[in-house]
Symmetry: C2
Subunit: 139 residues, 2 copies
C-alpha cells in the first residue's frame, strides 16, 4: 500500500497522517469495509481522526480510481482497495460476507445490441448471491 501513497504524492496529494492511516486500514485482499468500519479502525491508530476526514479521503480515493465503491445492499457503501484488477463480488445472504471473484468471459458481451436501448454501455457489475460455508449449515 505504500506504493499507493507514493503514487498519490506524485499526483499532488498532501501526505497527512490521516490519509496514511486510512490507506493502511484499506490495505489487503478481500477488504470491503464500510466508511464507519474504516473510521473505527483508523481511530484505533490515530484517535483524533474525524468521520468527515474518513469520508473525504474515501471519496478522493474513489475519485482517483484507487478504491472501488461497492453497494451490495441498501445499507452503507463498502470500500474495496482492489481497484486495479477487474473483478465481481460474491455476497453471503446470511452474514453479509463478501469475496472478490473472477467470472470468465466478458459480462458485457452477454447483452445483445437490441437490448441496449441506444445506451453506450461501458461496464457491468455483477453481484453473485448465495450462502457461505458457515451459513449453509444453519439457516
Amino acid at each position: 500500500m505504500s506504493d499507493l501513497l507514493e503514487r498519490l504524492r506524485g499526483r499532488g496529494w498532501r501526505l497527512t497522517s490521516q490519509r496514511r492511516v486510512v490507506a493502511e486500514v484499506l490495505d489487503g485482499d478481500h477488504v470491503h469495509l464500510t466508511a464507519d468500519e474504516v473510521h473505527a479502525r483508523a481511530v484505533a491508530r490515530l484517535p483524533e481522526i474525524s468521520r468527515a476526514t474518513v469520508y473525504n479521503t474515501l471519496g478522493e480515493l474513489v475519485g482517483l480510481g484507487e478504491v472501488l465503491e461497492v453497494a451490495t445492499d441498501g445499507r452503507a457503501k463498502r470500500y474495496d482497495p482492489n481497484a486495479h484488477r477487474a473483478h465481481q463480488h460474491l455476497v453471503c445472504s446470511g452474514c453479509g460476507a463478501i469475496r472478490d471473484v473472477h467470472p470468465h468471459g466478458d459480462p458485457l458481451a452477454a447483452l445483445p445490441a437490441d437490448e441496449r436501448f441506444g445506451f453506450t454501455v461501458t461496464a457491468a457489475e455483477i453481484t453473485y448471491r448465495g450462502l457461505c460455508p458457515d451459513c449453509t449449515g444453519q439457516a
Copy 2:
C-alpha cells in the same frame, strides 16, 4: 395488477385502500420508483396515506416475491414490479434512468467452481452501466 391483488388476498392479505393504491402505483413496465416516489404518487390518489404504510407495504410485497428491491446506487432503493420474469438492469450514469434488460446465457454459469469459495450460489444480479441516448450527447 388486479390479478396481483387477488393473488395476495388468496394469501391472507387484508385488502385495504392503502395497499390497493400502492399496488396501482407500481403497475407497469420499466417501473423503478423509490419509496418516496411511490409515496408521492400514492398521496395523489389517497391523500392521507402515510410514509410508514408505504414502507410497510413495499416490504411485504418484496417479502412475498411480488416486487424486487433494486439498489443500483448508494441512494434510495428502487422497487421493480417485474418480479416474475428474470431480468437485469441497465442504468444511465448521467441521469439515472433504468431499463430492464435480458442478457442471454445464464449469468451463474460464468462463475467457475473454484471461484465459489464453498458458497451455495443461487443468484446473480447484473447492473450494466453506460449513458442513455439523451445523455450521450451532452456530458
